[in-house]
């Protein structure tokens, strides 16, 4: 079976681990648990007529305490870039991480996910954030690991994007 390595990138506490758990195990916990190191999960995804084994590398979120290890991105087929709609600084961090990823490992397929859409009334974003990202040719989705909205779609869309490019 075809196997693809996918990394999760984003600032800390944006919900990367929660998205993986929702996708892999269909569960969600409200309690924030920081990720130390890397968490590896696997999931067989069905896209159109193909089965793909996705190996999900949930990298710890970047902040002053832990910097992203770009070597983990080597060998990856693509990545899911995550930000938290309630914290506008995480969008800036995502933009900065995408640029850094391109410098480190070259162009890789990725999907941008604005997470926590269940808290959309509390989002602290500029109204034109999607237009701003569209101008960068980013594929953007809204998701909620809590409700499950957009989660499967994000991983499957990324898988299709990876397969289309391979």
């Amino acid at each position: 079976m075809l196997q693809k390595k996918i990394c999760m990138l984003g600032a800390f506490a944006v919900g990367k681990t929660s998205l993986v758990r929702r996708f892999v195990e269909s569960i969600y916990s409200d309690v924030y648990q920081t990720t130390v190191g890397v968490k590896i999960d696997k999931k067989i995804a069905q896209t159109d007529d193909r089965e793909v084994a996705l190996v999900l590398w949930d990298l710890y979120g970047e902040d002053d305490f832990q910097k992203t290890r770009w070597s983990y991105l080597k060998g990856a087929s693509g990545y899911l870039l995550v930000a938290d709609g309630t914290r506008r600084a995480t969008l800036d961090k995502a933009i900065s991480l995408a640029q850094r990823a391109r410098e480190e490992v070259g162009p890789l397929p990725f999907i941008f996910v604005m997470n926590k859409c269940d808290l959309a009334p509390d989002w602290d974003l500029e109204p034109d954030w999607e237009a701003r990202l569209a101008a960068l040719n980013w594929t953007t989705l809204r998701s909620s690991a809590k409700s499950g909205e957009g989660v499967e779609e994000a991983f499957l869309q990324l898988t299709r994007k990876i397969l289309a490019g391979s």
Partner: protein, 667 residues
């Protein structure tokens, strides 16, 4: 491996595998339970395991380790910790060590559960604190804005009520009507006092900034703040292919210290840069320029975007919730925050379209110097006395009043004209400037918050124009009537400040001060105009319009409620409940003030402050002193109220001249 070594390594939590070639590893000791759990292997010593198939992380790690081990016969290579989930869902932390020893390659694995948990706990705590901090900052900003909106909304109608009562008080009215007017006036004064208390107590951010501003080290480096923010924003700007830089002419060796606080200064730059980025087209640049302007340092943020929105004036752009029709901005709080902060620090902020295209947002802050004290000690407001002052006679004055509230304009004009002054009123700063072009005025009264052009902007324009002319006496009318606000306005260049709602007597005193060209400070009439504390029952009776029944009722209410309040104060001190102490001390302060018990009033004020600051060491001593004062007051009031238990009960008319409390002792 010897049995001894095997035993030691097993006890240390390691399991060793020897590389056999073809991606195969051989277990040198029985696999521990955690390894069997995560990989589901038989685990017997000598078992062959395809490690890369079992763990994608190890496959990646061994690839990288291989490069190092191939080049060095005795090299070791350690992985970062990682977590694998067992088929049963258990998360198992792992760490690997690859070694090259005597021509053979080994892989050592361990599950550092304890260290992993400790590290996770540490990171968890640090990140939760960061999240809390971010949340708190957002809350503070929201609260500050809300607070200022509330203060403004509460103050405006109150001003109208207060001035209306002043106007009515000057009409010939019956004794009964005068009593009612006095009561109304007293209530409106009380409400204004409560508004000020709200501002002081609930604006923790404001209080913190006031406290900080009083410190000698309340300084921030403008150039450093600009550079720090540029570093943070560069990736975001690059993503939009907009360049970002500090103007090369900013000399790093110059003094860039301003009065301010560095975190908030960075927030100001951040807000201005975000704003610039929003409008800057791809391929253009944004430049931060820094320069010195007299006693101020000025920062400009220049972009090459479309310029300022046509539907908004520069002053509207900084107002609360302001957004251009075509803008993609946020709620309109960022620039409002900048304005609040810069002006609080004694600076100014503005924006303009640039001649060559694009817009310029600028702000300026006072230069910080060694040994600088509070803003009150600044030079700017006192400079007024050294200027040539307009010729102001002691008779009627020509007064220009700019206020956007029509009721205030009508009522204030009515009162000033009754006193023989000539008054011209306008609704905003722009119109005030136009009026000043047409005729000269002795005094200019400017409301701080006006549409089109604020009081501060108008003042700046007036001061700019007057460079070649005589100094104009400009008095600020403000709803933000706290000491720091008065200091801020004086520092900005006003000759005097009067809080709204103001007593006409206070304004009259200030106008007299303006007429006296030797008087430099016009900002203290509030105290001078404050009604004197009643010293006797006769004073009190006069205050309530001669209504003895009402006065007796007030005395009985006081005697009924005071013991309960005192008990609550004592309880709060013993329980060390600062909030309650402040609340009950405040509740008692008003009534003792009414009865002219100055010493007791001061004790209440002190207790209120101690409660707010959660300082209890002196509180009991002050409480005892307060109790003593109250006992004296109660004794006198019992006599007047006709209650039993007082040697002075059954007061006669002569008793009306009795002193209510001891005179205030020197402090």
């Amino acid at each position: 491996m010897t049995n001894f070594l095997q035993e030691v390594l097993t006890r240390l939590g390691y399991v060793f595998l020897e590389y056999q070639g073809n991606a195969e590893f051989r277990l040198l000791s029985p696999a521990p339970r955690w390894l069997s759990e995560v990989w589901i292997i038989p685990g017997a010593e000598g078992s062959i395991i395809l490690v890369a198939e079992k763990s994608p992380f190890l496959a990646d790690f061994l690839d990288k380790a291989d490069v190092l081990l191939s080049s060095d016969d005795n090299a070791t290579c350690q992985s970062e910790p990682w977590v694998e989930r067992s088929p049963s869902g258990k998360e198992i932390p792992l760490q690997a060590l690859a070694l090259h020893v005597n021509g053979k390659r080994y892989l050592a694995l361990q599950s550092p559960e304890t260290q992993f948990k400790e590290r996770a706990q540490l990171l968890q705590t640090a990140r939760e604190s960061l999240l809390e901090h971010e949340k708190l900052l957002r809350e503070i900003q929201k609260k500050e804005i809300l607070l200022h909106c509330i203060i403004h909304d509460l103050s405006q109608p109150l001003s109208v009520m207060s001035v209306t009562l002043d106007c009515l008080a000057e009409e010939p009215v019956s004794k009964k009507a005068r009593r009612l007017l006095d009561l109304g006036k007293h209530a409106s004064d009380q409400q204004m006092s409560m508004i000020r208390d709200i501002l002081q107590v609930f604006s923790s951010d404001l209080k913190a900034s006031i406290d900080a501003e009083k410190g000698a080290d309340f300084t921030a480096n403008l150039l450093q703040a600009a550079r720090k923010v540029i570093d943070a924003f560069t990736p975001v700007f690059l993503a939009k292919t907009v360049s970002l830089r500090v103007d090369a002419r900013a000399d790093p060796s110059a003094n860039w210290l301003v009065r301010g606080e560095s975190t908030r200064l960075e927030r100001i730059f951040s807000n201005l840069l975000e704003n610039a980025l929003r409008y800057a087209p791809s391929g253009t640049g944004v430049t931060i320029g820094l320069s010195r302007e007299g006693e101020f340092l000025k920062a400009v943020v220049d972009d090459e975007g479309p310029g300022l929105p046509a539907d908004l004036s520069p002053s509207q752009i900084f107002s609360l919730f302001s957004k251009g029709k075509e803008s993609g901005g946020k709620a309109g709080l960022g620039l409002y925050f900048c304005q609040l902060t810069v002006e609080r620090w004694g600076g100014a902020i503005g924006c303009e379209s640039r001649a060559g295209g694009g817009s310029r947002f600028w702000f300026r802050l006072p230069v910080a110097s060694q040994g600088e004290k509070t803003p009150a000690g600044g030079d700017a407001p006192r400079e007024a006395a050294t200027h040539d002052t307009m010729s102001i006679g002691k008779g009627p004055m020509r007064i220009l009043l700019a206020d956007d509230q029509e009721e205030i304009r009508i009522l204030t004009t009515h009162q000033l004209e009754r006193r023989g002054h000539h008054v011209v009123t306008v609704a905003n700063g722009q119109k005030a400037l136009e009026a000043l072009q047409r005729e000269a005025f002795d005094v200019i009264l400017l409301d701080e918050q006006m549409p089109v052009m604020t009081g501060l902007e108008t003042l700046k324009a007036i001061r700019k124009q007057e460079k070649k002319h005589a100094h104009a006496v400009v008095i600020a009318l403000t709803g933000y009537n706290t000491d720091p606000d008065r200091e801020r306005l004086l520092k900005a260049g006003f000759d005097g400040v009067i809080g709204k709602p103001f007593r006409m007597k206070a304004l009259e005193l200030m106008l007299r001060g303006a007429a006296d060209t030797t008087q430099a400070n016009l900002s203290a009439p509030e105290e001078e105009a404050a009604a004197p504390a009643p010293r006797s029952v006769a004073d009190l009776l006069e205050r309530v319009g001669g209504d003895e029944g009402l006065l007796r009722k007030m005395a009985r209410t006081f005697l009924r409620d005071t013991p309960k309040r005192l008990a609550e104060i004592q309880k709060a001190i013993r329980a060390k409940r600062g909030e309650k102490l402040a609340f009950f001390a405040h509740a008692l302060k008003g009534p003792v003030g009414i009865f002219g018990a100055e010493e007791a009033h001061q004790h209440c004020q002190d207790l209120q402050e101690h409660g707010r600051k959660l300082e209890f060491s002196e509180a009991l001593r002050i409480y005892d002193a307060l109790k003593e004062e109250i006992a004296e007051l109660e004794s006198n009031l019992r006599g007047y109220a006709g209650q039993k238990g007082s040697p002075r009960s059954g007061a006669t008319r002569s008793g009306k001249r009795r002193v209510l409390t001891s005179k205030r002792k020197s402090r």
